[in-house]
């Protein structure tokens, strides 16, 4: 296995771990799936629709999101939004994320400084 393959695999795992957090963070206001794909893309986070749609459905079945079809527009769309449980999970997950990234950053930065 060459290094590029290892790096790609690692990047994929890191992104996968953050996807739930990112999805929850964007759904404080109602959004439909493709809207969310685009909004993440605008923030330079590319997520494939075939990953995001099943993920939102899973989060809905876990009670973190709720959904509703809007049939008033030019085409019917399913809008997702955070539930109360989803808000709590997001809040706690954000804390874990910030805490973890701070620690990881400080370790990585310290190592880099020592190396210079």
């Amino acid at each position: 296995m060459d290094n590029n393959e290892i790096i790609t695999g690692l990047a994929l795992e890191l992104r996968r771990g953050t996807l739930v957090l990112l999805t929850l963070s964007q759904l404080k206001k109602p959004m439909y799936g493709y809207n969310l794909v685009k909004s993440l893309e605008d923030a330079n986070i590319s997520v494939e629709a075939n990953t995001l749609y099943p993920l939102m459905r899973r989060l809905e079945s876990q009670g973190l999101l709720s959904s509703e079809w809007d049939t008033d527009g030019s085409k019917p769309r399913k809008y997702y939004i955070l539930t109360q449980d989803g808000k709590k999970v997001l809040e706690k997950s954000e804390k874990i994320w910030f805490d973890l990234t701070n620690k990881v950053n400080s370790i990585l930065e310290a190592d880099n400084n020592e190396g210079q």
Partner: protein, 328 residues
């Protein structure tokens, strides 16, 4: 010729692999996202087949997307994309094994003259069964291994271009099945009322009829009614052409009456010719009590088989009708 659009076939291919309660919602959601992706790709222009294909390729193979929706990617021994190939190879393997077994048995028949013809032909069943089970096991093991390793034979684009038509055949009744059924019922009537003596046991230059011809003839109206019910069922199927409530009710009523008629005819009347049973016991020779018991009570075993057949037929009809209703 594929009548449905590629999008419809794609959405159908994904949703049919999902639990029934999810299908409608996921289909709507997929149509919505495909429409959004096409709009982004083509703007005001009408999307071409190539555009549609590109969008569907981005979404991935239907079975992969369905797996993501279900959230369980390895929940079976042999799943897609291997399952269709598995069925194809299984049919060939079983067919070839059976043909080989028949050829082997025929060759054996001419090379080593049998002492007892009936036993010789009966021996075909366990041998064929053993080889068929072996062929089934080998093909299943190979495909289970390929599925476990995730080996692919075809590329994704080819899969998308060859998506099956979405015509739902699960609730339809084949015209030829009905025609075959009508033919079978007529043949049954002709055989039992016209030429029952052709069903006989031939030994020592004497033909002994299996059925008691006099009893059959005196209860001809029961046989006519029994056949009539079968014919009525096939004709309703031919008119309806799908599993409907009307079809299900006809089937259940016809089957209940048929079961009653079979019990009336077989219980208490000597339908099987006792001479034929004696002759069979003689031919089989010293084969133990089981065979003798089986033959002595043949009439009741036949009745049990008829009732089982009737019950299976009713069960299949109810199952297919409910499934067709569910898919509507």
């Amino acid at each position: 010729m594929k009548d449905n659009s590629l999008i419809e076939r794609y959405v159908h291919a994904v949703s049919k692999k999902l639990p029934v309660k999810l299908r409608k919602d996921v289909s709507d959601e997929l149509n919505s996202i495909i429409s959004d992706m096409l709009e982004e790709r083509c703007g005001e222009l009408v999307p071409t087949d190539k555009d549609i294909l590109m969008v569907l390729t981005t979404l991935g193979a239907p079975y992969e997307l369905a797996n993501k929706y279900r959230g369980n990617e390895q929940d079976c021994l042999i799943g897609e994309p291997h399952f269709s190939n598995y069925i194809w190879w299984l049919k060939w393997a079983l067919g070839i094994t059976l043909i080989a077994q028949v050829i082997n048995h025929i060759t054996l028949f001419f090379s080593e003259p049998a002492q007892n013809y009936l036993l010789f032909f009966l021996a075909f069943i366990p041998e064929a069964l053993r080889n068929l089970i072996f062929a089934f096991g080998v093909v299943t093991l190979i495909f289970a291994f390929l599925h476990f390793k995730g080996t692919r034979f075809e590329d994704e684009l080819e899969d998308l271009l060859n998506l099956p038509d979405i015509t739902d055949k699960s609730g339809s009744i084949s015209k030829w099945d009905c025609v075959w059924g009508i033919g079978f019922n007529i043949a049954f009537l002709v055989l039992f009322l016209g030429i029952p003596q052709v069903m006989n046991i031939y030994a020592d230059g004497i033909r002994t009829p299996i059925f008691n011809v006099d009893v059959l003839m005196s209860y001809w109206y029961i046989i006519v009614l029994f056949t009539g019910l079968g014919l009525a069922e096939e004709i309703v199927g031919l008119i309806e052409r799908k599993y409907s409530i009307k079809m299900m009710v006809t089937n259940i009523v016809a089957n209940i009456i048929s079961a009653g008629l079979a019990i009336f005819l077989f219980a208490g009347r000597q339908i099987i010719n006792p001479d034929a049973i004696d002759k069979l016991i003689d031919i089989l020779g010293d084969t133990g009590n089981t065979a003798v018991n089986l033959l002595t009570n043949a009439q009741y075993y036949i009745l049990a088989l008829i009732l089982l057949g009737i019950a299976i037929d009713a069960f299949i009809t109810v199952f297919r009708t409910l499934r067709a209703k569910n898919n509507e």
